[in-house]
Amino acid sequence: MQRSIRTAALTAILLVPLVTPAAADWRTLDSAQAAPSYTYRGTIRAINARTGTLELITGVGLSLRVVQMTTARTTRIVTASATPRFAELKPGDVVRAECRRTGEGLVADQIEKLKVGAR
């Protein structure tokens, strides 16, 4: 009896993802229900100021991902600087990037440099 209750509870827990949407700020390229915007928090792995492209390394624990995106002239850069520029960003910086998907891949609408604190 106890076992069947446990099995039912577990089944319910495991089936819920099939009927509930993903967390609002995690919209991914692979999602079947692609939303118009995607937010990534990650660390800049590579950046090219000339081409306006950057690669973020995102993820948790030992499950990491690389996300590539480009910038447009309209991309907002948010840093502590009074006149933030894309060229200020460098590998190792932690950023939150708000992007949209286009035919040419992800394009960043805003890139905000974040501070990382101690615990």
Binding site: W26, D30, G59, G61, L62, S63, L64, A118
Partner: protein, 379 residues
């Protein structure tokens, strides 16, 4: 209760004895609600995933409890493969080639689509590492040790001239790491969230995307479960289950074990295997201002070329985090890859910063070496 039972209870209370914590037990001072979450989390931890419920396409195991078993949260006999590239002093976790965890199994649909039984080994890797599944008891308490406590034990320039130079590892975003054999992961929650995906291919809200297959996208129709494949609540209770697992109470030691404990310190083992760390004032009451007798400093130490394998974060190939010494009584294999089958072997395989203590251990009489082992087996 019988008269002798009452007498024993009164005697125990009078002596201030606490009920010993066995491997797999929860922390002793959890609330009823936390105990209920512990129980629900254990169900998810022990549940077997299938492709329909999110397993794969690549995976190492079908359940958390398949590797962390006997009891749930304990160690297992599975060995997994990690790969990274170390070039010019920099470490590449080879994310775009499927690293750093290289899964050893594929679900039937992936086998059928690509004809592979496991993830292809990354062609750019400079090293391959084998990793056993450690016990996860006491990890919740270690999560609440403040960074400042870890840093207080660091001595990267060996200013005290003891030959031991602990230093912290850092995650890709610069935060201090503490979990995993290379201390790469900053928090238990992130380690657990990453493990669902890296070990079972079960996506969760913190990592809602599957990894690629050796750098290539997953073939259409192979991954049938919608992402994330685990709900936030199912993840949260599993995280709580792991977090609430208590460090087992050390077994009572006799004269030999007490002598071993003394020698452990005198030999210099405790320079890295720091007997206790103190948690900070933040978090749930069960985690605040507690001494954690885990025998680790959570720092990286150079263990010499014979143990070296992969890099990870700022850890070079020879750098390993001091392994917590918890539940050694039940261990049959030792070190990060399980290459040692006895505690004596494990000590004798210490190199680099551990070589001083190792040599002093080797210089002991057989009786004293046995005392050190007796002490370790009490943990």
């Amino acid at each position: 209760m019988t008269r002798p039972g009452v007498a024993v209870t009164i005697l125990l209370l009078a002596l201030g004895c606490k009920k010993p914590v066995h491997p797999g037990d929860p922390l002793s001072d959890l609330t009823e609600q936390q105990l209920e979450r512990f129980g629900r989390g254990k169900l998810v931890f022990d549940s077997v995933f299938t492709p329909a419920t999110g397993l794969g396409p690549l995976f190492n195991s079908v359940a958390c409890g398949e590797c962390h078993e006997k009891p749930a949260g304990g160690r297992g006999d599975e060995v997994e493969v990690h790969a990274t590239a170390f070039r010019g002093g920099a470490c590449d976790p080879l994310v775009q080639e499927g690293g750093p965890v290289i899964q050893r199994h594929a679900i039937p649909a992936l086998k059928q689509a690509l004809g592979i039984d496991s993830e292809p080994f990354p062609p750019s890797a400079t090293a391959r590492a084998l990793r056993t599944s450690p016990v996860v008891f006491g990890r919740g308490l270690l999560d609440f040790v403040p960074d400042s406590v870890i840093l207080a034990y660091a001595d990267p320039d060996d200013k005290n001239h003891d030959g031991v130079r602990g230093r912290p590892n850092r995650f890709v975003d610069g935060r201090i790491g503490r979990f995993g054999r290379k201390a790469f992961v900053p928090t238990l929650r992130e380690f657990n969230a990453g493990a669902f995906v890296a070990e079972m291919g079960v996506t969760d809200p913190a990592q809602p995307t599957e990894e690629n297959i050796g750098g290539k996208p997953i073939p259409a129709g192979v991954d049938v479960a919608a992402d994330p494949e685990l709900t936030q609540e199912a993840f949260n209770v599993t995280d709580d289950f792991v977090r609430f697992l208590a460090p087992p109470t050390p077994l009572k030691v006799g004269k030999e074990g007490r002598r071993g404990r003394q020698l452990f310190s005198q030999l210099g083992c405790a320079a890295c295997h720091v007997p206790t760390l103190r948690t900070g004032p933040r978090g749930m009451p069960a985690f605040r201002n507690r001494e954690v007798a885990a025998y680790t400093d959570l720092l990286l130490h150079d263990m010499g070329p014979d143990l070296a394998d992969i890099c990870l974060g700022q850890a070079g190939p020879a750098d390993f985090r001091t392994e917590p010494l918890l539940d050694l009584r039940g261990a049959e294999h030792f070190l990060h890859d399980g290459r040692a089958t006895t505690l004596e072997q494990a000590i004798e395989l210490h190199g680099g910063e551990g070589s001083g203590a190792r040599d002093r251990f080797k210089g002991l009489s057989a009786t004293d070496r046995a005392a050190v082992v007796a002490f370790l087996k009490s943990l």
